[in-house]
Symmetry: C2
């Protein structure tokens, strides 16, 4: 078993050589020194080094339904037209392939019901990145100095929390319920910060707005409107943006879509980020964002320093897949696959956990995660007894504690994020059964 | 004509909306505020806004010889084997696709003649990035705090100089001749820094080692050995790395290959960066590096924050292209294309410039650039009379002054970087003819 207390250790590839003794030590920048310790690296290392585990941890996507035929169609369309193929294999621009940016804006506008608030958005405001993770990193880096504040839900996407921490940015959380971030709790937090004289350091309110990571909850329309309003109200010194991470929007298995935050935004308060990683293919790795106009040039400057624009080929492939309907087809197929898996996980939770006192879970209408809440006092953390017992039983999960910011709401260590993305329904059932045994043993 | 004094202005896409007057101003981080002003943005903007210009500026690659057939073969190989296709479309690891990393190390070792110094290198030390630009950025960011020093040639790759400047890193140059960086000049610079008590801030010596950007010169083997020795000798407080940017290595049109710096490195002093952008396709955008073992984990931590690993699909495509020989075939074809273009440019220089007093140029054995040296006192800068006269005559070039670091050797403003990558031989001839007219008029 790998060391469980290893979260602050380097958990990635082991180095096979030690630095030559004849030379001086390497110097690492302060930024580099602060770059490690992402829990996801530890989890991936554990999963890779113990392939026999049933991993309910990974945010990986279902392997069997990856869109081989759709990518094949997209590539053949490019290859059939030499000028298209040449354009795809040449350098592109930093902001991204213009026809794709137009298409994506149109798509979002249509999905949101063409609300008046979105009429003024232009393709110039759309930027394409290497997944939405890069977009989130770049935005954090360009909006925040070290010591600045990002407000978020408790809990929220733990990889982004890790990025913020590594950049020296303070994440401050507000309470949530089964509908996600509670506007009144957010306002209370903003009031506290105002009283402490720290409002001028708040740069944005980060929300995973659809089937969020990790709780699987979706913010209803009225909360979206209210959160935008709060951002405006408290933008006294500088603008406080709403950073709407809509990564899971297309993965809805029941119910109706909700307009994105942009639909409630009259004055360029909202930044939307989305990605094709979950709804199409993480290996193609294309994300995109819609930025307020005043941020576009600086965003491109920052991105230009880092990679000079995302791979042009991938943007052309995605363009063809969106244009031809391949993306929509793939998304529909994925929803069928994940609905079945979600049902398998919820059924297994019902079957194996319903009898466990104090154990409950959320019922997501989409996305990839089920959020499990255990009795108070049960420590589900990576150093705690349950994580160890689960590993012994052959199951890997993401400790819910990872998803809590360092400030604001207290960390609920009695929580677990389960993913049904990768495993088959049968393995999901088996994994939950083993996990239930471990929970029963530890909670006893 | 676009404003010529616009290098410090924002030269990218124009924003169509002004920030809403009802909200507070945006806050941009100090890092974001320092992110702009890359001359390349200005040049690309000029080229895009005046498509009638003969651009001898762009580092773009020849459009007609982009490897459509090779990418097609690579994709078909993946698509034919479902497990391969699925792997390519799934998430990968931050360091990169392991079989590709093995192949690339093997390739470099073979190209370098399997020297003893390289026997200990392992695939764990190979990392894959989104082009070598991302690798250079990440290395600068992880090795240097603001105020630290990178030593380089005068002149050197101006986009990297821009990245260093934006990160607050000092670039200090040493003199070059027709064989590139002069070791004695480098040692003198190191001595100066030592006397000034600044040696402890020197983090690396950056060299574009083959057909460099911008001079087109290649460092001979003895200079490589000597530069590695100097790095070791002056690594008194911290290790000073040699950062070997071998981007153009495969584009050799005459003469024999030279072993890379790694062949002269007994103790992990050398970092090698390479890219498929120039030798295969910039749209596929895969670069790679070989790092000293002590840097690998931190590098992956930093990259993991930024993008979680480069697109897996692209790495699989490149793997297939390298494995199948498609890359080698493409490189050979490219060398034929570029040799012809280089010859066209050198012939045109001879034809139109040989009679101009005080004008000379280097004769590159590979790469994409011809370095033009004008009489002392001729200002070829973007705000100078020649740049304006050249634009009026329909030609765009890169002012050589961009390629000089802020410290060390003085900036030679009477220089020009010409690229023969994009234009046809006929257009190259025409461009040089117009440029010669402009030079003659301004130098008169």
């Amino acid at each position: 078993m790998p060391p469980l207390g290893g979260l602050d250790q380097k958990a990635g590839p082991q180095l096979v050589k030690t630095p030559a003794s004849t030379t001086s030590p390497a110097y690492l920048s302060r930024r580099a020194q602060a770059s490690g310790g992402q829990p996801i690296n530890y989890l991936m290392h554990t999963a890779l080094s113990r392939p026999e585990l049933i991993s309910l941890a990974a945010g990986f996507v279902d392997q069997g339904s990856l869109p081989v035929a759709e990518v094949d169609d997209a590539w053949r369309t490019l290859a059939a037209e030499q000028s298209l193929a040449h354009a795809a294999l040449q350098y592109g621009t930093t902001a991204g392939y213009r026809p794709l940016r137009e298409l994506l804006l149109e798509e979002q506008r249509t999905a949101d019901g063409d609300p008046p608030a979105m009429r003024n958005l232009t393709p110039e405001q759309v930027v394409v990145t290497a997944g939405s993770n890069q977009l989130l990193y770049l935005l954090a880096d360009m909006l925040c100095d070290a010591g600045d504040i990002v407000l978020c839900a408790a809990p929220t996407y733990y990889v982004f929390l890790g990025v913020l921490k590594n950049l020296g940015i303070r994440a401050v959380s507000a309470a949530t319920d089964e509908q996600g971030l509670i506007p009144e709790a957010l306002e209370e937090r903003l009031e506290q910060l105002a009283k402490a004289g720290e409002l001028g350091r708040v740069r944005c309110i980060y929300v995973v707005s659809y089937f969020d990571n990790p709780q699987g909850v979706t913010l209803p329309a009225d909360r979206r409107a209210k959160i935008v309003e709060l951002a405006r109200k408290y933008s006294t010194e500088h603008k406080i943006y709403v950073l709407d991470d809509a990564a899971y929007r297309k993965l809805r298995y029941v119910g109706d879509d909700v307009p994105s935050f942009a639909a409630f935004d009259e004055d360029d308060t909202v930044i939307t980020t989305q990605t094709f990683s979950k709804s199409f293919s993480p290996g193609v790795r294309v994300g995109w964002g819609v930025l307020p106009p005043e941020l576009v040039q600086t965003f491109c400057d920052v991105k230009s320093n880092i990679d000079f624009g995302s791979p042009n080929l991938n943007q052309h492939l995605i363009y063809e897949a969106v244009r031809s309907g391949g993306w929509a087809k793939q998304t529909a197929a994925l929803c069928d696959v994940y609905r079945t898996k979600r049902d398998a996980m919820l059924r297994a939770c019902e079957r194996y956990m319903a009898g466990l006192p104090g154990v409950s879970w959320r019922h997501p209408a989409g996305g990839l995660y089920v959020w499990l809440m255990l009795p108070e006092g049960v420590d589900a953390g990576a150093d705690g007894p349950l994580f160890r017992a689960a590993l012994d039983a052959g199951v890997l999960y993401v400790p819910g504690g990872f998803s809590y910011a360092g400030e604001g709401e207290p960390t609920a260590n009695n929580t677990i994020r389960l993913s049904y993305g990768v495993q088959s329904p049968a393995r999901i059932d088996e994994g939950i059964r083993h996990l239930a045994t471990a929970v029963a043993a530890v909670a006893r």
